[in-house]
């Protein structure tokens, strides 16, 4: 163990793994979207994010200090003008960055009922009032006592029209690309119409989060953190099981030999030539592919990766003097395998387990990229699949393509480093140089 820890590569690998493991454990508590693991494909969970924007830290003077992520504007108490046929309610919103341009504006009304007339417009901060001014027909319809609301300071119109308020629900209005100095909203309600409650305006920025968002408005960093657990789980479990089965089959085939040995070798030959993909394609034709189908097929195919090494090592060990001596004093093949050959090979197996993890993570990512992965979990391969399908490469959305692949590479490297550290310990001839 000390020898293992004294190797620099092993320490580096373990350090990275510790960070990765910490992120996997505490990830759900540090990401901005804690429910993401269950609602990754729930569009409404992500609807307030900007779609396909770079990380917040790319903001700077070069893009006019764009608004980071999503900012909720401050809502003033409404200004109400009571008329004979209805009432005009005006709210003013402030708190956006002066001069910053938002990508979208989300106007929400929490209550109310029935059709109302709505006008949303830009307004400078010092202007008072604002409303459906300048339109005689509307003003007349409103019957607001002929007193035209002050039109001073009222800027560009953002929205004008009739909207349908849902009782107990939320009206959501997306308005593209606005400057964010100040906004006013005026609503005309007929007499007796229910009060709409206090509306809110969310300014959707041009950048978001630590690693930006994908085309479906999902936070890339959250996805990255959620992907760790699947990569770790799949990599560790599958590599443990495949190496274990390769180890057992290899030693038993070498020590028992005979028909069992030759059959195992034929089966090995078959599976080592056979590609995994056709089976996955065929399985996914019958039912939706899941991580467990992949794990099962990987187990069926990847044991061959350790079998041959173990087999030839076991043959060598079997021929060593101390084992022949054991046979001479009456040790049967079972004794030989369990007391001599397996214990001698076990350290190799640990090194092989660590070293086979990257291959399994790569295989899962490749399968997912082809669209044959588990569509219900958030894996790095799935993220890259989405990125490829939705044109992240063509549009240069590096924040979407770069992180998942880097994560795969870093995790692969950490296991390879640990594996090499172990290998140096169990293979002293290698560490001599």
């Amino acid at each position: 163990m000390n020898e293992f820890l004294s190797s620099r590569s092993a320490r580096a690998g373990l350090a990275i793994l510790a960070v990765i493991g910490g992120l996997a454990l505490f990830g759900p508590y540090i990401v901005a979207y804690p429910e993401a693991s269950t609602r990754w494909r729930d569009i409404s969970y992500w609807e307030d994010n900007p779609a396909g924007v770079p990380p917040a830290w790319v903001d700077g003077p070069w893009n006019g200090w764009a608004l980071p992520s999503s900012t909720l504007m401050k809502t003033s108490p409404p200004l109400v003008r009571q008329g004979s046929a209805g009432r005009l309610m005006t709210w003013r919103f402030s708190g956006g960055k002066p001069s910053a341009i938002a990508r979208d504006l989300v106007f929400r009304v929490p209550g109310g009922e029935g059709k109302v007339f709505l006008l949303v417009r830009e307004a400078s901060a010092d202007a008072e009032g604002g409303g459906i001014g300048g339109n005689g027909a509307d003003a007349a319809a409103a019957g607001a006592g002929g007193a035209d609301p002050a039109a001073a300071g009222a800027g560009r119109e953002l929205f004008r029209g009739e909207v349908d308020l849902v009782p107990g629900g939320t009206l959501r209005l997306g308005i593209p690309s606005v400057s964010t100095t100040g906004i006013s909203a005026t609503m005309y309600l007929a007499a007796g119409q229910a009060d709409p409650g206090s509306p809110t305006i969310l300014l959707v920025g041009k950048s978001a989060g630590l690693l930006g968002t994908d085309a479906a408005k999902r936070d890339v960093f959250t996805g990255l953190v959620l992907g760790i657990r699947w990569a770790l789980l799949l990599g560790v479990v599958v590599s443990f099981l495949t190496v274990l089965s390769g180890l057992l089959l290899g030693t038993f085939a070498a020590c028992y030999g005979g028909i069992f040995g030759s059959i195992t070798n034929r089966v090995y030959e078959f599976f080592s030539m056979m590609p995994l993909l056709p089976f996955l394609v065929a399985v996914s034709a019958i039912h939706k592919p899941s991580l467990w189908t992949f794990a099962g097929l990987a187990l069926l195919f990847f044991w061959t990766r350790t079998f041959k090494t173990v087999y030839s090592r076991a043959l060598q060990i079997k021929a060593e003097g101390h084992i022949e001596a054991a046979v001479l004093v009456g040790a049967g093949p079972w004794w030989r395998v369990t007391r001599h050959v397996l214990p001698a090979l076990l350290p190799y197996a640990f090194a092989m387990m660590a070293m086979s993890v990257p291959g399994i993570i790569l295989a899962e990512a490749g399968v997912s990229l082809l669209g044959l992965g588990d569509a219900t979990t958030v894996t790095w391969g799935q993220m890259l699949h989405d990125a490829l399908v939705q044109g992240a490469v063509i549009n240069g959305m590096w924040w979407w393509v770069l992180p998942p692949g880097l994560a795969i590479a870093v995790m692969g490297l950490s296991f390879a480093l640990v594996g090499r550290g172990l290998d140096k310990v169990v293979n002293p001839t290698m560490s001599r140089r």
Binding site: E269, M274, P275, P278, G396, A409, L413
Partner: protein
């Protein structure tokens, strides 16, 4: 019989048996989907055959349709029992009778799967043959230089990069390369093998190489580190063997000693190179898919996306055949080169 001839027959026989077994496995795995594809094709062909018989009386028309249908089902052996269907399909696949594709077509719009597959093969050979060659050349060079300056900068880089490249998805590096050098800075084309219209003569070759450059560089820059590390270790191990000590102790200059070392590791390197070449025949599904390279792997990528089972089976069968043939040839080459066998087991 000469020992080499009998060995050759055994090797070829083993390869053929393997090939038939794997064809059978493909046939079993894809049985359900392939049957559905064939049924759809039968319906299509019945509809075509009856197009001119629309003016028949309803009863006659129905009878004719049933007869045509049954004849077609018999023709494609869909009326036979499951085991027999599987065996027939395995036989068809093994003998390269792949039938017609469902959606994928060749460049001339043809739907004959064998034609489609054979059209893709040269592109795979060009890209991956060049790749295997460059990987061996550059890998050998890096390995040699790393071994010469033991513990030097190159040696340390060469010891870490294999671990990095083993865990790195090549196709992801391809995505980055494509994004950077094809879309952000449009230096290279984003897919295919030629611009449209295809230039002729030398310009055509240059155009082909221009299309090949990005995937080739991506593949070589990632794949060269494993052979480099192996060669570096091989040289290091050989350097400590007795004959090298002897050569040194008798006063040979280092350069001459190096020649002895290289002569000793030549067979191992040749094995590595040949194996790399054989494996490269199959192409790479994901890398070709990302780069839109119309080789076997790219075809496989498309066939999976579009669920075109006849094309899938065609590609698989050809890849299997090439791979097995390559391995058999490789084995025979060793046997031939091994004096113990070549000289009739007397040496």
């Amino acid at each position: 019989m000469a020992p080499f001839a009998s060995l050759a027959i055994r090797r070829v026989g083993h390869g053929l048996a393997m090939y038939l077994l794997m064809s059978l496995a493909y046939s079993i795995v894809f049985n359900g989907v392939a049957d559905n594809a064939l049924r759809a094709r039968v319906d299509e062909e019945v509809a075509v055959a009856l197009r001119s018989s629309g003016n028949l009386a309803k009863i006659d028309y129905d009878r004719l349709r049933e007869e045509t249908r049954e004849a077609k089902l018999r023709q494609y052996r869909l009326d036979e029992a499951l085991p027999s269907r599987i065996l027939w399909r395995a036989f068809d696949v093994a003998t390269f009778h792949f039938g017609r594709s469902q959606t994928v077509t060749s460049s001339s719009g043809d739907r004959d799967v064998l034609g489609i597959v054979l059209q893709a093969l040269p592109n795979t050979l060009a890209l991956f043959g060049t790749e295997a060659l460059l990987v061996m050349l550059l890998g050998g060079l890096v390995g040699l230089l790393a071994a010469r300056r033991h513990g030097g900068a190159l040696d340390r880089v060469a010891s870490i990069l294999p671990m990095v490249s083993n865990g790195l998805p090549t196709w992801w590096v391809g995505m980055l390369a494509l994004m950077l050098f094809s879309y952000v800075i449009p230096l290279f084309p984003s897919g295919g093998v030629h611009v449209n219209p295809t230039p002729t003569g030398w310009a055509g070759i240059v155009d082909y190489l221009h299309h090949m450059a990005l995937p080739l560089v991506t593949l070589v820059s990632l794949n060269l580190w494993n052979p480099a590390w192996l060669i570096r270790n091989l040289i290091g191990d050989t350097w400590e063997r007795d004959f090298v000590r002897f050569a040194r102790s008798k006063g040979l200059p280092e350069r001459r000693v190096g020649i002895h070392v290289i002569a000793a590791i030549k067979p191992a390197i040749a094995t590595m190179a040949m194996l790399g070449l054989v494996q490269s025949l199959s192409g790479n599904i994901l890398v070709e898919g990302i780069f839109g390279w119309p080789g076997l792997g790219g075809l496989y990528f498309t066939a999976v996306q579009q669920y075109d089972v006849p094309v899938l089976m065609g590609v698989l069968s050809l890849q299997t055949a090439l791979n097995l043939a390559g391995l058999v040839v490789l084995d025979l080459a060793y046997d031939w080169l091994d004096p113990r066998i070549r000289l009739g087991g007397k040496a």
